[in-house]
Amino acid sequence: MPIEKFTTLVSTCVPLPAENVDTDQIIPARFLKATSREGFGENLFRDWRYDNAGRPRKDFVLNDERYGGEILVAGKNFGSGSSREHAAWAIKDYGFRVVISSFFADIFRNNALNNGLLPVQVTGDFLSLLLDCIVKDPRLKVRVDLEKQTVSLEDKGEYENFEISVYKKKCLLNGYDDIDYLLSMKDRIVEWEQKTEL
């Protein structure tokens, strides 16, 4: 089953400078009760975004009309905590296609990549620059080019390269799915099982 392809994205950004944004903040456990993958965006950052009565909290960036776009720019160690893939689903469902941070938690990174949500790891300096520029000019556009593995500030010329495994890059550029790939290797798995003492 092909996943959504990713090649290049040019978009404004939503800044979320907090560090250690954990998956309980991205999507609290009480919203994990659905049995499908859709609709989690509604509760993305639920307790930061709404008060207990369900009213939008004006001071939270998703409720700030100045900011919008398909790129979330977050502080260091984004996605720590639980393995819930619902966190990646919620971010994607809300409309983001890229998360930029200076550091990602391992499981979140895998979950994001498996859903066509691109985690872009930049240096702490570049992250600070990016956050500053976005806050100064919320209309600033950022270009993420997966083929070239670059993230750049449009019109400013500032850019940085980012890392991604050759395999994952190929998957995203072509919309390949890991599971299809694994299924194509079933004979090898069976062969391995037969020669191994399990």
Partner: protein, 466 residues
């Protein structure tokens, strides 16, 4: 042959092949599933029109959103009930063993795997839950995965994964009185921060780790993820074998001895290369408690709240935000802070030894007025054992109640939620904002420190009573 770490040994033994310029295809020996992170994976199989490849290698339990009272009645909360029913339907359709609600083996996935002897040394183990690292205490490579990866394991019994780096954490020497394995792991995380082991698979070693029981070792490995580690393990030894011998699904009789011979080879060579190595002195560790909103924000229970993040991992703004959320100020002592709730349970500290240590502490004492305490066994078997050993009676005499098994207030997916603004001393693993309920304020600690808080109604050094 070049020298190897135990992690490399197990990993290499399970690589089916390597994707060119990509991840390893790693064979999985045991796969655990639960109601929350599996439905979409089964949904994926259905869309693809494929069966579960090796149904005998997956075991299921319902734990995350089950109630901890009246489990004989239908689950009241509709969405939770639907998820639990969906799990049962999926397991039945695909021929997967399910230890559902009211089954004698039901319980938290990371409690039942070990207690049933399903978890064994040398295995690769995954589950759609980050605390799968718990199983590493047996000398296995165990880690949490997302739902797409759950689907992958169901589809092909393998996972495509890049090999993490390795880290060894040595805890040398002996711990002092009243210091538990929970304090050791909270101490380590406080030293290296909540992202300090990201990208690594950790091996714990040293005298203080070797001298721990299996259950105490599980507590340490359980929280490996709280410093970002992919997983954590401890080389198997006599303690491991003695724990496993005679367990339901452990090999029996001569077969067991044959396995021990294999398991004894599972250790890191003396000159095995680790990408990073850390050494801590057990004697310097005190009973710990967290003051902030991530597990790295821990200090000795006798200490005062720091004025800034000394590990340099949190900006001033985030540091202040944590304190605001908790309603604390820099420089205040933790001892004496008011406690409204005490939660003992979870995959971190919901085993029989945890209940024993809590019960022994509260025996002959009374729960403080104004403290609500939830004592939640990690499994049916733990519950039964607690009743059989008289722990239930001790708890009831002291004003406590033993509930029924489940994840409970650890992540507040069921009715067990700490109310907004209330303070809870919790033996679970995460003190994130809202983790135990919207607005709940969590202080992570050991069962002993939780017991001291339950008796006094304030944060208390348990050593004052020992």
């Amino acid at each position: 042959m070049s020298s190897k770490t135990i992690f490399d040994r197990i990993w290499d033994d399970h690589v089916v092949c390597t994707v060119p310029e990509g991840p390893d295809v790693l064979y999985i020996d045991r796969h655990f599933i639960h109601e929350v992170t599996s439905p979409q994976a089964f949904g994926g199989l259905k869309k693809r029109g494929i069966p579960v490849f090796r149904p005998d290698k997956t075991v299921a339990t319902a734990d995350h959103n089950v109630p901890t009272t009246n489990q004989h009645l239908p689950i009241q909360e509709e969405l939770s009930r639907v998820q639990v029913e969906k799990l049962a339907a999926n397991c039945s359709e695909h021929g997967i063993t399910l230890y559902g609600l009211n089954h004698a083996y039901n319980g938290i996935v990371h409690v039942i795997g070990p207690e049933l002897g399903i978890t064994q040394p040398g295995m690769t183990i995954v589950c759609g839950d980050s605390h799968t690292s718990t199983h590493g205490a047996f000398g296995s490579v165990a880690f949490g995965i997302g739902t797409s990866e759950v689907e992958m394991v169901l589809a092909g019994q393998c996972i495509m994964q890049s090999r993490p780096k390795t880290m060894r954490i040595n805890i040398e020497g002996k711990t002092g009185k009243g210091v538990t394995s929970k304090d050791i792991i909270l101490y380590i995380i406080s030293q290296i921060s909540t992202g300090g082991a990201t990208g690594y698979f950790v091996e714990y070693s040293g005298e203080a780790v070797r001298s721990l029981s299996m259950e105490a070792r599980m507590t340490i490995c359980n929280m490996s993820i709280e410093m970002g580690a992919r997983g954590g393990l401890i080389a198997p030894d006599e303690v491991t074998y003695e724990y496993l011998r005679g367990r339901e699904f452990a090999p029996a009789d001569k077969e067991f001895d044959r396995h021990v011979e294999r398991w004894e080879k599972l250790s890191s060579d003396s000159d095995a290369p680790f990408d990073r190595e850390l050494i801590f002195d057990a004697a310097g560790i005190e009973p710990m408690i967290t003051w902030g909103t991530n597990p790295g924000m821990g200090i000795p229970v006798t200490a005062t709240i720091p004025r800034k993040d000394e590990t340099g991992n949190t900006s001033e703004a985030s540091f202040g935000k944590s304190l605001d959320y908790m309603g604390f100020n820099p420089g205040e002592p933790m001892a004496g802070k008011k406690v409204d709730y005490v939660f003992v349970g979870s995959c971190t500290n919901g085993r029989i030894e945890d209940l024993r240590s809590f019960a022994q502490f509260v025996k002959g004492r009374r729960k403080a007025e104004g403290v609500t305490a939830w004592i939640v066994p990690g499994s049916r078997q733990v519950e039964k054992q607690a009743a059989g050993e008289g722990i239930r009676d001790i708890l009831e005499d002291a004003g406590f109640e033993l509930r029924q098994p489940g994840c409970s207030a650890c992540l507040a997916m069921n009715e067990d939620k700490i109310p907004e603004g209330k303070y809870a001393v919790s033996t679970s693993n995460r003190n994130f904002e809202g983790r135990q309920g919207p607005g709940a304020r969590t202080m992570l600690a050991s069962p002993l420190t939780a017991a001291a808080a339950a008796i006094t109604g304030v944060v208390t050094d348990p050593r004052e009573f020992l």
